[in-house]
């Protein structure tokens, strides 16, 4: 690992290490060259005396050897053993009764050994503190921000003046925002332990509004011991402030979860908003079209196992086409004979849903299949220490909005959209004006079905993909469309997001299932009050 430490930081660190060395020198006889002292210190580590071991640790820490950090970490974690046969230092991991050994310095495999052949290097509490500080100083200088971050987290609130000095110094250099945050927090926490009142007050002031759990814990610790009323008062205020900020962030998180659930509902319902809302067709197989979309994703991934990261970009158009064609097939063979008979349409399409489910069960599997997440979907966006947004949910929220606006544009701005709306409003008139209503019906239904397929791609990233998955969405989808007001795309969006948020708001005190039941009951009551939903179509035409 190439170590490039900026010059003046290097100076500080080396002087720190020199200082440590000086401690060591006073206790054990110093060796000549640095390499020699490093090797000698390694041997000293297995010495039964804690004093010798402490001195050895200091030497190793000051050696500047790139292997030092890992070695000390292993020691702190209690994984460092010495082999009786050759007094070599080994890393030990237990395996089936015996120990698996690795070389402590280069990590090479040394085979297995029985418990009696190796001996653990014991450490005491004092050494633990010493090790922590030494490791922190070593890792804080690492060029890898992730390593520095971990170091900063480990040192949090350490009042050791050497550590604090190292932190101060690093803070001037540090460019990574997160590491900086932790370093600042660490200094503030250290301030809290200072005997001087004004320093403690300064620490409190710095902590106020911080969202790191350590900040609140630090204040709590301070309050449990603090006697100075001024400091207590300031700490109380800071803590209240933190609590407020935290609950604000919790609310934001709930809102995000709600919107995320809402976006799933919108995705599931939006195809229905077209087939049911615009065309008035009750398609009970809508959930199965979503399922087809999800299975298309699965098949696409089976076809390109090495390109999972790109699979979704193939799956989205594929699912749109597969589900859309399936929709056109359903419309042409069944639904078109049932226009004007909504209850019969409901029954026939339910039959289709059963057939599609069974088709998947017989051709693919009755079990759930594993759809993989592309790597860019995993992980989360850390807004602040108390708020992280999962990428998968974030992308799906954005995706739902994209699909929504794309549909809006199709319906409002394209020739197909114009024809769809014309047929929806007055079939006979539209036909007499040369609109081929049969073709428009098929295309509209295909569009709705295709969108359901696309929704399936998104849902495959969040939930289990199985033959029954469509059933889980059909009632929710209808609820969203009915709640939003039939024939109104915006209504569907607002209704879906509202229901999602409402669901998540209720979950903490009602539990997931009860929250869902309550939402259902709410919609049932709401529809009694406003039978045309949130955003009804008004006017004489709707006044039937």
């Amino acid at each position: 690992m190439p170590t490039r430490i900026p010059l003046h930081r290097g100076i500080w660190i080396s002087s720190l290490l020199v200082l440590l060395c000086l401690f060591a020198v006073t206790r054990v006889s110093a060796e000549g060259s640095e390499t020699v002292s490093f090797e000698a210190a390694l041997i000293d580590l297995s010495d039964p005396s804690f004093a010798v071991k402490q001195a050895a640790v200091d030497v190793i820490a000051a050696s500047g050897d790139p292997r030092a950090a890992a070695l000390l970490q292993a020691l702190a974690a209690g994984q460092l053993y010495v082999r009786d046969a050759d007094r070599a230092l080994v890393l030990v991991s237990p395996s089936a009764g015996d120990y698996r050994l690795r070389d402590a310095l280069d990590g090479s495999e040394l085979g297995e050994a029985s418990r009696r052949e190796v001996k653990k290097i014991a450490i005491n509490n004092r050494m633990r503190t010493q090790l922590r500080t030494a490791i922190a100083a070593l890792t804080l200088a690492s060029p890898d921000p992730a390593v520095r971050l971990r170091a900063a987290q480990q040192m949090l609130g350490d009042p050791n003046p050497l550590v604090i000095q190292a932190i101060r110094d690093q803070l001037e250099e540090e460019e990574n925002r997160q590491v900086r945050d932790y370093l600042t927090l660490s200094l503030a926490l250290a301030d809290l332990q200072d005997p001087a009142t004004e320093i403690r007050l300064r620490g409190i002031d710095r902590l106020s509004g911080s969202l790191y759990p350590a900040a609140r814990n630090g204040l709590n610790r301070l309050l449990s011991a603090e006697t100075d009323p001024e400091v207590r008062d300031a700490a109380e205020r800071a803590r209240t402030h933190i609590e407020r900020m935290r609950s604000l962030n919790e609310a934001a998180e709930t809102l995000f979860f709600g919107l995320s659930l809402g976006s799933v509902l919108v995705l599931a319902a939006i195809g229905l908003a077209i087939t049911f809302g615009v065309m008035g067709v009750i398609n009970m197989a809508h959930g199965e079209l979503i399922m087809i979309g999800a299975y298309t994703t699965y098949l696409v991934q089976q076809a390109m196992p090495h390109w999972i990261d790109y699979s979704l970009f193939v799956a989205i158009p594929a699912a749109f086409i597969v589900a859309g064609l399936m929709g056109i097939l359903i419309e042409r063979t069944v639904i078109r004979f049932l226009y004007g008979r909504p209850l019969e349409t409901l029954l026939a399409t339910f039959g289709i849903s059963l057939i599609l489910q069974q088709l998947v069960r017989t051709t693919i599997s009755a079990q759930n299949v594993a759809v993989q997440n592309p790597s860019w979907m995993s992980g989360s966006l850390q807004i602040n220490p108390a708020l992280a947004l999962t990428y998968s949910r974030l992308y799906i929220l954005i995706f739902a909005l994209l699909v929504f606006f794309a549909l809006l544009v199709i319906l409002k701005r394209t020739a197909l959209g114009l024809q769809v709306r014309a047929v929806a409003q007055n079939r006979a008139m539209a036909r007499s004006m040369g609109v081929r209503s049969g073709r428009v019906d098929a295309l509209t239904f295909g569009l709705g079905a295709g969108v359901a397929g696309v929704a399936g791609v998104a849902l495959s990233q969040l939930t289990n993909v199985g033959p029954n998955m469509g059933q889980a969405y059909i009632i929710d989808s209808f609820m969203v469309v009915v709640f939003g007001g039939v024939g109104n795309l915006w209504g569907t969006l607002v209704a879906g997001l509202t229901l999602g948020v409402a669901n998540k708001l209720m979950e903490p005190w009602a539990g997931a299932v009860l929250a869902k039941i309550l939402v259902l009951v709410f919609i049932i009551l709401f529809i009694q009050k406003r039978p045309r939903g949130l955003f009804p179509q008004r006017g004489r035409a709707a006044d039937g």
């Binding site: 409901l346 069974q358 069960r361 209808f478 609820m479």
Partner: protein, 376 residues
């Protein structure tokens, strides 16, 4: 005399009741008197199966009353059926007494399992048969009344109403799946021992339940006939065909709907109460979306607005289900799905419609044959 009036112009109903009577007489004899091994012997398994079909038939009649005659496609009847079943199940659970696995004198096993110490208030009284039966009727009735009152008053109709009833059923299913509800959660209520002191595994008890189902079906059928042949029945059909017009004539459409819907729900509850002791279990699966829609297709296959068609449809489809799930389990959902599609597309009047078409065809042909014979 009343019977004659109810069944006048109802040849299908007459035939159906005659067959029902025949089955009700023959099956017990063939089960109890004819010895096992004789080809004429009817096994107790078959008796129970037939009894189950009869409760389904009653449920189908209840659905046909609201769908066929009133135009309300209720997807909530599975819920009413299930609620009736749960009421009876609770009685049967209480009858187990201390014979459960945990041997608790009062609490059913699943409550002991959940570490409950006393019976929830809504389980009180279910140790009495009459109370359980009353609840099997009242609970679905009250639910239907409240739901219907809200829905019909605000004129929720057509598919909206269907979707709302579906949502209601779905919400109930989710609720009953919860252990905290106190209805046995996922597993539901089962391991029943006896009813009114009769051992449920006993052949004669089974025959008794079968006969009770047959009798209830006959009575339920006649009650529905009474409604549909009354002026109220004609008002119902008027609402189905032209709701606004009926309102202008001065009928309170919401009241008519509410009354018939509630009655139908109670009938479904009774069917559920008869179903549970025969199949020996009730669980939240009864509320599933598939169930609530499937029973509509029984009616569609039998023929809407004929009542006897609903009986035929329920028995046929369920016989088919028993046969298929035994012989070709894979094919059953295909068959059921295809049934949904084909019946709605090609058989809008169901089997009863085929019958009446056949009868008309025969009547038209016969005189022609007569004249044909005279002419030469």
């Amino acid at each position: 005399m009343v019977l004659g009036r109810l069944l006048r112009d109802d040849r299908g109903g007459q035939a159906m009741l005659a067959v029902l009577l025949l089955v009700a007489v023959l099956v017990p004899i063939l089960n109890l008197v004819v010895p096992e091994g004789n080809p004429w012997h009817v096994s107790t398994y078959t008796v129970t199966l037939l009894g189950k079909y009869l409760t389904y038939a009653l449920l189908a009649v209840a659905v046909d009353l609201v769908w066929g005659y009133l135009g309300i496609l209720s997807l909530g009847h599975a819920a009413f059926f299930g609620l009736g079943g749960y009421a009876m199940g609770m009685y049967l659970m209480r009858q187990i007494g201390d014979r459960g696995v945990y041997g608790h004198p009062v609490l059913p096993d699943f409550m002991v399992f959940l570490n409950w110490t006393e019976l929830p208030w809504f389980w009180q009284g279910f140790d009495m048969f009459w109370f359980a039966v009353l609840m099997a009727i009242l609970v679905p009735g009250v639910l239907a009344f409240v739901f219907g009152y809200l829905a019909f008053r605000s004129r929720v109709t057509g598919v909206y109403l269907s979707i709302m009833t579906q949502a209601l059923t779905y919400a109930l299913m989710l609720a009953f799946f919860r252990n905290e509800m106190g209805f046995g959660g996922n597993n539901g209520l089962t391991d029943f021992k006896d009813i009114l002191g009769f051992d449920l595994t006993n052949d004669t008890t089974r025959i008794g339940l079968f006969l009770a189902s047959a009798l209830t079906l006959a009575l339920g059928y006649l009650a529905c006939r009474f409604i549909v042949t009354s002026r109220l029945g004609r008002v119902a059909v008027a609402i189905r065909d032209a709701e606004a017009r009926t309102r202008f004539i001065g009928y309170r459409v919401d009241h008519v709907k509410l009354a018939i819907f509630t009655f139908s729900a109670m009938l479904a509850g009774i069917a559920g109460a008869l179903y549970v002791p025969q199949v020996g279990i009730i669980n939240p699966g009864e509320f599933s979306p598939l169930n609530s829609i499937e029973l509509v297709i029984w009616v569609a296959i039998g023929g809407r607005a004929t009542l006897y068609g609903a009986v035929i449809g329920a028995v046929l489809v369920n016989y088919g289900k028993t046969y298929f799930t035994g012989a070709f389990p894979e094919a059953w959902l295909f068959a059921l799905g295809a049934l949904f599609v084909l019946v709605t597309l090609f058989l809008p009047k169901g089997i009863a419609g085929l019958f009446s078409q056949a009868v008309t065809w025969w009547r038209v042909r016969r005189p022609r044959e007569r004249t044909a014979r005279v002419t030469p």
